[in-house]
Symmetry: C2
Subunit: 213 residues, 2 copies
């Protein structure tokens, strides 16, 4: 169906896919049927050229003289992103951040199902977060062997990450959503998405500082 092997797609294009998906979802919800690359470009603040270029990495989803069918394109992008095949996820670290993510995030709408939460702190083991009990980290091995999660959300400090990550990779984890500062680039064939909130806040600090004058 898609015209290109997925391996060739540039990271810049991949990073834009969720945004396309989001905008198309809103248009669909608002009852629109079709959209041209020009109209979408104006809504999203991109060029029409870039949109056509991006979409054509995966196939010709449009129709000359018409544009794109919103419903169909939305679904195509979901499939490209892999949102339609739900993968199991676990979360390591049930502190403030870990709980907020567990509670707040629609994992299901993004291709994942959260099936386990782990922490090393005895006192919070057994507490429920979004219907999932916090398990002690000592049970990680057993749980993973039984349930075979493929991604792990890391909400622990860097110091603790190193050993847990090695363990998780041995247990078959293929991707990390990394909220820690631990550097995961050393691991081969593992998908990593870093969320460095501190870095983001410092970038804002730079931009505010240098626009205030």
């Amino acid at each position: 169906m898609s015209k290109a092997k997925s391996g060739n797609i540039s990271p810049s294009v991949i990073k834009r896919l969720p945004r396309y998906y989001r905008y198309l979802g809103e248009l669909k919800k608002a009852g629109f049927i079709r959209i041209s690359s020009r109209e979408l470009s104006e809504r999203m603040g991109l060029t029409a050229s870039q949109i056509r270029q991006d979409l054509n990495c995966f196939g010709g989803f449009g129709q000359q003289g018409y544009g794109y069918n919103i419903q169909q394109l939305h679904q195509e992008i979901a499939s490209i992103l892999g949102l339609d095949k739900i993968k199991k996820a676990i979360l390591i670290g049930a502190g403030n951040l870990g709980r907020a993510i567990a509670n707040h995030m629609s994992f299901e709408a993004r291709g994942f199902q959260l099936i386990g939460i782990f922490d090393k702190k005895e006192s919070i083991v057994g507490q429920m977060v979004r219907g999932i009990p916090i398990r002690h980290i000592d049970n990680l091995d057993e749980f993973c062997r039984e349930n075979l999660p493929v991604i792990a959300v890391l909400c622990i400090p860097s110091e603790e990450a190193a050993s847990v990550v090695d363990q998780l990779i041995k247990l078959g984890i293929k991707g990390f959503w990394n909220f820690s500062h631990y550097d995961l680039s050393q691991y081969q064939n593992i998908a990593v998405e870093n969320v460095h909130l501190g870095d983001s806040l410092m970038t804002l600090c730079y931009n505010v500082t240098h626009s205030l004058k």
Copy 2:
């Protein structure tokens, strides 16, 4: 002191600054005194060329034959980022995510001081989060006029964001740390740092999906 006007610096360079700052902080903490661009490049997974190029946007911080003084460079970058001039911040939306950010984030280490938290839900008004009382959103005007915050952390749904953002800009807010999906690109001369956690998770979904085979 710096050789370039800040306006000329490319976004790619700016995005890397917090990471340099972080690595230099760790090296400093570990007791290292000097580092060459080559050594730093190996630790960070960049090229030495890029590091020298990046740093030279702001001035010649190194010394031929020696490298860079870690303590000095760390401080220079803090000053470039504006971390040394603390700015007042408020947080809008004290749900799971808002609370987690208020509790979890070291604002002070990133150039900000969190001085107020607001929500529209009567039942949580008065609750303390990290020593800060949750105020009703109706008091936003008065609070801002008295305390003059310059940045706002948006932890509310898109639907609610539109009107609050207009209000905040009128009240003098110059920058947004935006966790909502509300599109802030329409506002001129306002610094915006978007954190789209859902997009990040979908990007991970793509990468896991396409590396699993």
